[in-house]
Amino acid sequence: MKLKLHVWRQKNAKTQGKMVTYDAPNVSPHMSFLEMLDVVNEDLIAKGEEPIAFEHDCREGICGSCSLMINGVAHGPQKATTTCQLHMRTFKDGDEIYIEPWRAKAFPIIKDLVVDRSAFDRIIQAGGYVSVNAGGAQDANCLPVPKDTADQAMDAAQCIGCGACVAACKNASAMLFTSAKVSHLGLLPQGQPERQRRALNMVQQMDKEGFGNCTNQYECEAVCPKEISVRFIARMNRDYLNASICGSGPEKKAGGGED
């Protein structure tokens, strides 16, 4: 197939970016989207132009690195599929494809299609864990967990931290991401002791990072490659409300260490 690509090029965080058009004359339907970009990049290098920078690592849909807006849709047209797992057979000869980075205030652009998603790590730092040090845990089967509960926790835990939910949301809200972690841990018995504090601290951090509010449009769920359900947002809101009412105030410092 022959395709025409319009790609966002931006030298670095400080300079202005713009869309640049490239031809992709030799695309096989069996290629993945990123393999198609690899081929375009090899041609660019041959011509002496700097290749397009984009993020990727596992190319198996699990690391959450890849992150492209494809024709205005985060991760492109195929449901429940990351950019790296999207194959060119979803496109047809002659198509024009617009390729842009995630756009959100909390995800500043670093170069071309690469953005800074460290805000997600800081949301986890605010409470996305169970405070348990290595060593000394009781036998794993001491505490049975109903299969149903474990399965639901797993549904939430599948989030790959890609940020598509933020990119798709007109408010750039990180509610789906945050609620996935709050729910994963909040559903399990091991996560109960810190449940309310966790919800409160993580939501506060999310606001601090400049993510927007949720106005129940559910664009996030529609693009999420792991099909994380918006039910978890409702669940997090309940935990958050409980925490606010019961006054489980934010903790200053978490974690171990000596000092």
Binding site: S28, H87, V114, L143, P146, Q158, H184, K253, G256, G257
Partner: protein
């Protein structure tokens, strides 16, 4: 080169307990006076960094991805072994130990492997406490599945995303310590050299991948957890960024490299579809629990699978290895697939594939059960190939997957450079010549949560608590060397892209140092690789600049190291004149099965760098078996 494994005395089962009882400790108030560098945030590095910080050490932690959560461990699918015997099917620490040694074709160190089996049980406890959502039975207890090379069910799993869930557990513990100020995290930062000062590992030189700045960090000890080097083959199941740079540069600074030729080819991956192929996708080995592997009986049979009647199908694993059947270990399953294809019985467009068929189990168990077990894997397969495995058998072919070789370490997980510790896939230790499925995750977490924290304390207790600084001759020299090398790559401005070199190297490695190796092929590779390397340094084209995000430059540095390392692998494969595990030398076989030579090769080969342009030197660590009898591996 001193290769004393430092195995504690006493009976096998008591060694680790007595080691812990006698190890030197650092008192709690002094721990914060020590700084430890951890390179890597996969299962090994992530768990080690978090645990060291929990103990009170200051940790500087590095990864090249934008977040520690994206380390390659995230991609592991099938599961993690542990000798819990929850199924009451006769499992025990000893049995897991024995299976691992046997699976590794008797080329690993008894004491290390026993300890691994012993702490495997703690891993599951720790992970459950962290909130890892392992699969459970209706009664609420943990579920298990069986995996290749074992006759018990000891594999714990979280759907087909076990690595992801275990890594997120470690990552969350790590983030907790970052929040506590005990770990300083450097994402998007690549280690480009090891600094050895006064004979001890004292720091590293890194490049900030966003600003391009090259700088150094000092510490009282350095831990490498940088993963495996399967990408030397260009095509592998590893993440695109996985590389040998950290361990290879440590090798050039004096760390011995153990068994570099021991690589694992995984039997169940999606076949290559074209020359644009950028990586290979694994289909978890757990599929072999319910899928049956077959190829047509006659060569050149081009009929579609449903048209091939039962009596014209060769379920070759069941035929050749009746007691293990489709669960034969990986090296054996891979080689059998290659044999079938070499005989012209391969399937798919290029004839490089065999079937993994779920027809019978779907009939027996129903599509729902199969979907519950493997739903996401089936989906992934369909996304990539456009074929529905509920209807058409999967096509699979072996692909490079894991590297058993790595930096040599003793019982302390310390390399031949004092103060340099190596954990996870980056070291050579526990899997001998072949790793059993679900044992890499076990090893990474055993090293990071439960072993290194003890052994590194034992080392630090003997090291001055004075603050360290990245200054002095050794740091300056290493930093300058890195800067020069970077500048040189940017200045060449030749005609070929980095990827084109990487692909060419990969093809040489796959053809000559892959599933089957022989003297002529290896000798040929040993001539071709230096020539290719030469051309790289004359003719590679790396555009852009050093002082910004430059993905071509990152790749170029990694490929430059692969171009040296590939030669080391071939040299190792050539000098190991036997077949064992994943290392199959065509000259050494009996009736198609690997022929081990215990009289001459019951040792680890450890290579010592001798300087630019000089052949590295081969040393050996004899493997002494006090508790088990060396036996010919049989899965028949």
């Amino acid at each position: 080169m001193n290769l004393d494994p430092k195995i504690p005395s006493g009976p096998l089962a008591d060694k680790w307990t007595s080691y812990k009882g006698n190890a030197k400790l650092v008192n709690p108030a002094n721990k914060r006076k020590y700084t430890v560098i951890v390179v890597g945030t996969g299962l090994a590095g992530g768990s080690a960094a978090a645990t060291l910080a929990e103990l009170g050490y200051n940790v500087l932690c590095f990864c090249f991805q934008d977040s520690p959560r994206r380390a390659h461990s995230i991609a592991a699918q099938g599961g993690i072994n542990a000798a819990k015997n929850y199924q009451g099917d006769g499992d025990s620490v000893y049995r897991l130990f024995y299976d691992t040694i046997k699976g590794g074709d008797f080329r690993s160190r008894e004491a290390n492997v026993y300890r691994l089996a012993e702490v495997s049980r703690n891993i599951i406890d720790q992970c459950v406490a962290q909130g890892v959502p392992f699969a459970r039975e209706y009664g609420g207890l943990l579920a298990n599945r069986s995996f290749g090379g074992a006759q018990v069910s000891r594999t714990f799993y979280a759907r087909g995303q076990t690595g992801q869930q275990l890594l997120l557990g470690a990552y969350q513990s790590l983030e907790r310590q970052i929040a506590a100020g005990k770990v300083k995290m450097f994402p998007r930062t690549e280690m480009l050299d090891l600094v050895v000062k006064d004979g001890k590992a004292s720091g590293i030189v890194v490049r900030d991948l966003v600003s391009g700045k090259i700088e150094s960090h000092a510490a009282h000890a350095v831990v490498l957890a940088s993963g495996g080097y399967g990408n030397v083959f260009y095509l592998s199941t590893n993440a695109k960024g996985s590389n040998v740079t950290a361990t290879y540069r440590a090798f050039k600074r004096g760390a011995g490299f153990g068994n570099p030729c021991f690589t694992q080819i995984h039997p169940t991956c999606i076949p290559v579809s074209g020359d644009y192929q950028s990586k290979l996708t694994l289909m978890s080995e757990s599929l072999r629990n319910d899928g049956r592997v077959w190829a047509p009986k006659s060569s050149g049979d081009k009929r579609s699978p449903e048209q091939i009647p039962e009596q014209e199908r060769d379920y070759y694993l069941e035929r050749k290895y009746p007691s293990y059947g489709n669960l034969a270990p990986r090296d054996i399953a891979s080689r059998s697939a290659k044999e079938a294809c070499d005989e012209g019985r391969g399937v798919g467009e290029h004839g490089l594939g065999v079937y993994l068929d779920f027809r019978d189990s779907i009939q027996r168990l129903g599509a729902d059960t199969i979907s519950q077990r493997y739903g996401n894997l089936f989906q992934m397969y369909e996304r990539i190939t456009g074929e529905d495995p509920y209807k058409v058998p999967m096509r699979i072919y072996p692909a490079v997957h894991y590297t058993m070789g790595g930096l040599w370490v003793d019982y302390n997980l310390e390399s031949t450079v004092p103060g340099l510790f190596v954990i996870g896939e980056a070291n050579f230790s526990d899997h001998g010549a072949n790793r059993l499925g679900a044992s890499a995750l076990m090893q990474g977490l055993a090293d990071g949560y439960f072993i290194l924290p003890y052994t590194i304390s034992n080392y630090l207790a003997g090291v001055s608590r004075d603050p360290v600084a990245a200054s002095g001759e050794a740091f300056k020299e290493a930093e300058t060397a890195v800067k020069d090398k970077t500048a040189k790559m940017l200045a060449i401005n030749g005609k070929r892209t980095v990827d084109s070199f990487h692909k060419e190297l990969g093809k040489i490695m796959w053809d000559k140092c892959g599933m089957a190796r022989n003297r002529a092929g290896l000798t040929e590779a040993l001539a071709k690789i230096p020539a290719l390397r030469e051309e790289f340094w004359q003719n590679v084209r790396v555009l852009g600049e050093g002082e910004s995000l430059n993905q071509s430059l990152e790749k170029a540095g990694r490929v430059a190291d692969f171009l040296e390392f590939g030669e080391l692998m071939c040299a190792d494969a050539l000098t190991r004149e036997e077949s064992c595990g994943g290392h199959f030398r065509e000259e050494y076989q009996t009736e198609g099965e690997a022929k081990r030579d215990d009289a001459n090769f019951a040792h680890a080969a450890v290579w010592e760098y001798q300087g630019e342009g000089k052949a590295p030197k081969r040393h050996v660590e004899p493997l002494v078996y006090e508790n088990i009898k060396l036996a010919t591996r049989s899965y028949k």
